[in-house]
């Protein structure tokens, strides 16, 4: 059974442990600015929303990449950046309508969530259960993907 990240904003306190865990796993530093998951604060509403890539099926980023630097991870279903191939053209950053592929000016390449190869550290670190890594069926991922489908003008044919 494929798993996916399930995010429950109602449980999030905005502590950013997820961002630190992510950056530590991927960059070897505690550095929220380089995190693949980002917590957005809705001050007026008193709401915190962690957000990252939903690993959508016909990934826009993957299709738009001109140099084959975003590939499907057959095990986890994630769409992974191949650093050696990425030239930093940023086309994927504008192609992703979810805003979850970001340019890292330090490396000159883009970064996105790769589910830490199947052991997402954000979920490990989350103290409140706002981020969990569970069976894809239970995550409401389908709902997200439906929406992705609406965005994806090509998929009318699918």
């Amino acid at each position: 059974m494929q798993k996916s990240l399930h995010i429950d904003p109602g449980k999030c306190t905005g502590c950013l442990q997820c961002e630190m865990a992510c950056s530590y796993e991927n960059e070897g530093l505690f550095n929220p600015s380089k995190s693949r998951i980002k917590v957005f604060t809705f001050h007026e509403e008193g709401r915190f929303v962690p957000y990252t890539c939903t690993q959508c099926d016909d990934a826009w980023c993957m299709q738009a990449c001109p140099v084959d630097a975003i590939v499907l991870n057959a095990v986890t279903g994630s769409k992974d950046i191949v650093n050696d191939r990425c030239v930093g053209c940023k086309v994927c950053t504008i192609a992703c309508p979810f805003g979850t592929v970001n340019y890292n000016s330090t490396s000159g390449k883009v970064i996105k969530c790769d589910l830490c190869g199947g052991n997402p550290q954000c979920a490990e670190a989350c103290p409140t259960g706002a981020i969990t890594y569970i069976d894809a069926d239970a995550t409401g991922l389908d709902r997200m993907r439906q929406w992705a489908g609406k965005t994806d003008t090509q998929r009318a044919a699918a």
């Binding site: 995010i7 299709q63 140099v67 030239v87 950053t93 805003g99 000159g108 090509q154 009318a156 044919a157």
Partner: protein, 411 residues
């Protein structure tokens, strides 16, 4: 069933892949007229910088990729196309017949109507062959003029500047990237480049090129001529419509919402196609990578089967890295009639943001210095998200686009 695709750029390659996925048995022929494996022009600047070798520009990296998919590749120029006979002729005289044809012939650099553009030392920056010339002819200390500060010109600026050459950019419009960025941001981009030591002459025309003592002399209107070792011409591209024949053409080959040309078995995709524009609802040539890919996949879907895949229109968008300053443009960045807009302009920090609305829907944007979550600008535009009270919030502070998006799309 034989599907022939002319053009081995992103539109052609994605179309071939899509066809194969949908039609395991079909003959698929991919014809490209350059002597390399299908590659990406987008990646050429990074090759010029030296970050990647030529193979780093290739669209697909796996060894034997096309063979494995059973896609027949021909490195040939198509010299003639007979729609009546459903047959094309290659430059070696061979003829190929097809059941369905995709024209993904791309575009070519415009040759400005200026005397001397044929002289040796005048090059385009479009193909890998051009890149080789530029690398060979721009040695440290050389004088180079880059003619045109459009998308291509800007994206190779850093590569040129890093080669240690003495660079002058000449642009006839009043700002950089005039077809992508508005006055404020285009002007800021110029200032950025000048701060980095690049001479940028806007509102300046090249009036002619001559040859003196083995060097070129670039004549400018109202300014002293500039002697150079190399003149790079990057003044825009035009669709390669040479094979269109009796197909309906305007700027490019006109296609309907199925990417079909006026001839039912002939489709067009990518830079050569004049397809539906998401923002305007009209038809235009976009000549950008995401649109090429979208066209290719959609055209192939229609070529492969009875079901009709409808193209809702591509959103015109661009992202550009000009010597480290990142700019973006989305949709109707020039604004919609009667719509509201908001601008944040901080020249001191090279940050700029302009959002354009129609009613309470985001329809366009220009950004400078924004690298995080930029894709949501596309998401908001393409979903026609009704922003409600978030419109006012964005008018108050346009940097909150990600929140505006999440507020509508996260339960």
């Amino acid at each position: 069933m034989r599907h022939v695709i002319i053009g081995a750029g992103p539109a052609g390659v994605v179309a071939a892949e899509t066809l194969r996925k949908r039609m395991p048995q079909a003959d698929i022929v991919l014809i490209g007229d350059e002597p390399e494996p299908p590659y990406s022009r987008m990646a050429i600047p990074y090759h010029l910088i030296g970050n990647i070798g030529e193979s780093g520009t290739y669209l697909r990296k796996t060894e034997g990729y096309y063979e494995k998919l059973g896609i027949e590749q021909l490195q040939r120029r198509v010299t003639d196309l007979s729609l009546a006979q459903k047959q094309l002729t290659l430059d070696n005289g061979n003829r190929i017949s097809f059941d369905k044809l995709l024209l993904a012939t791309g575009s070519h650099p415009v040759k400005p109507p200026v005397e001397g553009m044929d002289l040796p030392g005048v090059v385009n920056c479009w193909t890998l062959a051009d890149a080789r010339q530029i690398i060979a002819r721009s040695q440290p200390g050389d004088d180079v003029v880059l003619m045109g500060a459009g998308f291509i010109g800007c994206i190779i600026l850093e590569a040129l500047a890093r080669r240690g050459i003495n660079l002058t950019v000449v642009e006839m419009e009043n700002r950089m990237v005039p077809r992508m960025m508005d006055g404020n941001s285009g002007t800021l981009l110029k200032q950025w480049c000048e701060d980095k030591g690049v001479r940028v002459l806007t509102s300046t025309r090249v009036t002619g090129v001559t040859q003196e003592n083995g060097r070129l002399v670039v004549q400018l209107d109202g300014r002293d001529p500039v002697p150079v070792n190399l003149l790079i011409s990057a003044t825009g591209v035009r669709p390669n419509t040479g094979l269109a024949g009796e197909l309906e053409c305007d700027q490019g080959i006109v296609v309907n919402e199925h990417l079909q040309t006026s001839q039912p078995d002939v489709y067009a995709a990518g830079d050569v196609a004049e397809g539906r524009d998401f923002s305007t609802g009209g038809y235009s040539v976009q000549a950008i990578q995401p649109t090429a890919v979208q066209h290719g996949a959609l055209a192939a879907a229609n070529m492969s089967g009875a079901r009709q895949a409808v193209h809702q229109g591509s959103i015109n968008m661009n992202v550009l890295d000009t010597m480290g300053l990142i700019s973006g443009s989305f949709g109707l960045w020039q604004g919609a009639d009667g719509g509201d807009s908001v601008t944040l302009n901080n020249p001191a920090s090279y940050r700029y943001m302009n959002l354009q609305f129609a009613d309470d829907v985001l329809v366009g944007a220009n950004t400078l210095g924004l690298t995080q979550h930029v894709g949501v600008l596309r998401g908001l535009i393409q979903n026609r998200t009704r922003l409600g009270r978030w419109k006012q919030r964005l008018l108050d502070d346009p940097t909150r686009v990600m929140e505006a998006y999440l507020a509508h799309h996260v339960p």
